[in-house]
């Protein structure tokens, strides 16, 4: 039952995601179009929820536009105020750990030492991972994420199929766990 689907990333799901974008005010700023709203909502994984929120973004953009007036020709971007100092890197030794149980206690759904996520983002994704014949069955299943780093940054996720990477296993709903098999 172990499926080597690794790192189920975010993927732009096909089709309209929410009704809100279609209601976007055509009078809104020329910048914040319905497409942009939808795009941002998908990237940010939060929704605007109201026309006021869209207006707020427009104001925020207008505010930021004031920076255009600053002459920055030949100026290097500054990422950190400590740029002139060496970044401290500690030696690569394990100094703490063995706290999986403690960490798992803060999760709402776990099975054994796994965090439990609902099925992947889109059925087409499932198709790539599992093959067409398994879709119907697997679409109702849950994904078990082992690495606690696996879903670190939503901003940079992509679909990877790497058997050496962090493990994600896929069980049918209600299936027995590994030990019980």
């Amino acid at each position: 039952m172990w499926v080597r689907a690794v790192w189920l990333g975010l993927r732009a799901s096909a089709g309209g995601r929410r009704g809100f974008s279609s209601k976007a005010d055509p009078q809104g700023s020329r910048r914040v179009t319905a497409e942009l709203i939808e795009h941002l909502e998908r990237l940010a994984l939060v929704d605007f929820g109201s026309q006021e929120a869209v207006a707020r973004l427009e104001k925020a953009i207008a505010f930021a536009d004031r920076l255009r007036a600053v002459d920055t020709d030949g100026v290097e971007p500054m990422e950190s105020v400590l740029e002139d100092r060496c970044l401290y890197l500690r030696s690569d030794n394990v100094v703490e750990g063995n706290c999986a149980e403690e960490l798992l206690q803060n999760s709402h759904r776990v099975v054994e030492e796994y965090f439990v996520a609902p099925p992947g983002p889109a059925s087409c994704l499932m198709e790539e991972v599992l093959g067409t014949e398994n879709i119907r069955e697997e679409a109702t299943s849950f994904i078990y994420v082992k690495s606690h780093q696996a879903l670190g940054s939503l901003l940079h996720q992509s679909l990877l199929l790497n058997p050496e990477g962090p493990q994600i296993t896929n069980f049918n709903k209600g299936h027995k766990t590994r030990e019980e098999h």
């Binding site: 189920l8 975010l10 942009l36 795009h39 941002l40 909502e41 990237l43 940010a44 994984l45 939060v46 929704d47 605007f48 929820g49 929120a53 707020r56 973004l57 104001k59 925020a60 953009i61 505010f63 930021a64 004031r66 920076l67 255009r68 007036a69 600053v70 920055t72 290097e76 971007p77 500054m78 990422e79 105020v81 400590l82 100092r85 970044l87 401290y88 890197l89 500690r90 403690e102 960490l103 206690q105 803060n106 999760s107 709402h108 759904r109 439990v116 996520a117 609902p118 099925p119 983002p121 889109a122 849950f142 994904i143 994420v145 606690h148 879903l151 670190g152 940054s153 939503l154 901003l155």
Partner: protein, 526 residues
């Protein structure tokens, strides 16, 4: 006893005038009594009493751990505390119990400090009023002070006093209120754009933002990694120095802490300021600045001048773009930082199980308030491929110009800059909420956020009461890693201005038993 400074009460503990348990119990009763201020989200009574008992044992054996042993402290609820709920005033982290202590919290505990509880804030420290968290707004203790009430009586009669309570400023408003209302002797805040200094100014306490890299951020739930700094709130400059001395230093768990050895922070008492050069940035004289704050600011400059210091007008030419630059960098880093909250490993999780994506979206919809969602969306806009260069990188370039402005001023011989901390004194909550969070933050962080972009140390010191009877604080800004020099100047100023003690006797009426056992009346509540 509770009205004393940290240093004074530390001396009283050492001399046996009070035991840690007594002190702890007094603070706990006062916390209960002042519950309506909403300064605390969690009161860790059991933990504090246990720590007090241990501290008491140490004192009995004569093995006290130092100045902080047995001293009640409070910690803003965005610092991780092992076994104690850490919420960031957000539904997203309601019920979250960290498995570890933030380095700064651990350092306080290692010194024997008693953790009274976790203090209230704007959700994820995003705000300048301490009004936008899920536990409701923090009320400024000065709303209930004799000084303010008397002034109000003279002005208006008909208005309902209780509905006119004042905001604390933010986002570390709970910590500022906790220190101001005598429920603890020092508190940790965090400071990304002014979140420690702003409420300190409004609540009449000292608020220190140390140099970036001096104090560990490990365990501070991040807002803007390149600007966040743990802040210190105390009732006097010496106390802030004591706490900074304990917190400062390299942390292997935070690669952005510098490795230079930290010297002890005992502040010398400055008697001669004639060798000092104080810079007054002319761009900080904005039209929005209240005339009263402006006049206190020039009074302070005159004070230095009359004592022989060199006071010169300086220019920080990019000041007017600073808040805009901060806005872009802040939202961009927020967009990235908030990505960690997905409902899987910790924090809130919605009931929707249709797909991973739907679960993420619904979880974040339920978990974040409008302000947080708004900043995440703006940040994502600035980080879009087509906008990255024009907004994010542009802001990083402007950031360099702002940092360079400060370097130029300090290279020209200025030791410390003197500026207002806030535009005016604290305003009533009803007035504050007329503007949205973004507008308020842009106004309220005006004088404070540039310091974060440049990584400099800055401290807000209460100077005087306004005509309304409310505290006004001024800000001193120092050279990077010259925190001690900065505090030395601040201490001199503090001694000169003699800021009045808050008079909360009406608030304390039923609390009189707490103060009955006063042995030394020197700094007690009058």
């Amino acid at each position: 006893m509770l009205g004393r400074t940290l240093r004074e009460v530390s001396a009283a503990l050492k001399q046996g005038q009070v035991t840690p348990t007594e002190l702890c119990q007094r603070c706990l009763s006062l916390i209960k009594k002042t519950k309506f201020l909403n300064a605390y989200i969690t009161v860790s009574e059991e933990v504090a009493l246990k720590q007090a008992a241990e501290s008491e044992k140490r004192y009995k054996k004569g093995h006290s751990l130092g100045d902080l042993d047995g001293i009640p402290v409070a910690v803003k609820d965005n610092f991780s505390t092992a076994g104690i709920e850490t919420t960031c005033a957000s539904n997203m982290l309601k019920g979250y119990v960290p498995p570890y202590n933030a380095t700064v919290v651990q350092k306080l505990l290692d010194q024997g400090a008693l953790l009274m509880g976790k203090t209230n804030l704007d959700e994820f420290a995003m705000g300048s009023g301490s009004t936008d968290g899920i536990f409701g707004p923090v009320k400024n203790p000065w709303s209930y002070s004799k000084q303010y009430r008397e002034k109000r009586k003279q002005k208006s009669h008909g208005e309902n006093e209780d509905s006119n309570w004042l905001i604390t400023g933010g986002s570390s408003g709970g910590s500022a209120a906790a220190v101001s209302a005598f429920t603890c002797f020092a508190a940790l805040g965090s400071d990304t754009g002014g979140s420690t200094r702003n409420p300190a100014a409004h609540c009449g306490v000292v608020g220190l933002k140390p140099s970036y890299g001096l104090v560990s951020r490990h365990g501070l739930i991040p807002l803007v990694n390149s600007m966040d700094v743990p802040g210190i709130l105390t009732r006097c400059v010496d106390d802030a120095a004591i706490v900074l001395g304990i917190l400062a230093g390299h942390d292997p768990k935070d690669s952005t802490t510098i490795q230079d050895p930290v010297k002890p922070f005992a502040l010398p008492t400055l008697t001669d300021v004639s060798k000092l050069c104080i810079g007054i940035p002319k761009e900080y004289l904005t039209p929005e600045l209240s005339s009263e704050v402006q006049s206190l600011w020039s009074k302070a400059a005159n004070l230095f001048e009359s004592e022989g210091a060199k006071v010169i007008e300086v220019s920080l030419p990019h000041t007017s773009y600073s808040i805009v630059c901060y806005h872009v960098l802040c939202t961009s880093e927020v967009a990235s930082n908030m990505a960690r909250f997905d409902g899987l490993e910790y924090g809130h999780r919605c009931d929707i199980d249709v797909s991973t994506e739907a679960m993420y979206a619904a979880t974040r919809r339920e978990g974040f308030n409008d302000v947080v969602r708004g900043r995440i969306l703006s940040g994502n806009f600035f980080l879009l491929k087509e906008n990255y260069e024009n907004y994010f990188v542009k802001a990083q370039k402007v950031r360099r110009l702002i940092a360079r402005d400060f370097v130029n001023v300090f290279n020209s011989g200025v030791d410390v800059l003197l500026t207002p901390t806030t535009l005016s004194e604290a305003i009533p909550h009803t007035e504050f909420i007329r503007e949205d969070n973004r507008t308020r933050s842009a106004q309220d962080d005006l004088f404070t956020q540039a310091v974060n972009m440049a990584g400099l140390p800055a401290v807000s010191v209460p100077m005087a009461l306004s005509s309304q009877g409310l505290p006004v604080g001024l800000q001193f800004i120092g050279r990077a890693f010259c925190d001690q020099q900065l505090l030395t100047v601040a201490k001199w100023f503090e001694k000169r201005v003699q800021f009045p003690v808050i008079q909360l006797q009406e608030l304390m009426d039923d609390c009189s038993s707490i103060f009955e056992n006063e042995k030394l009346a020197s700094v007690s509540l009058k």
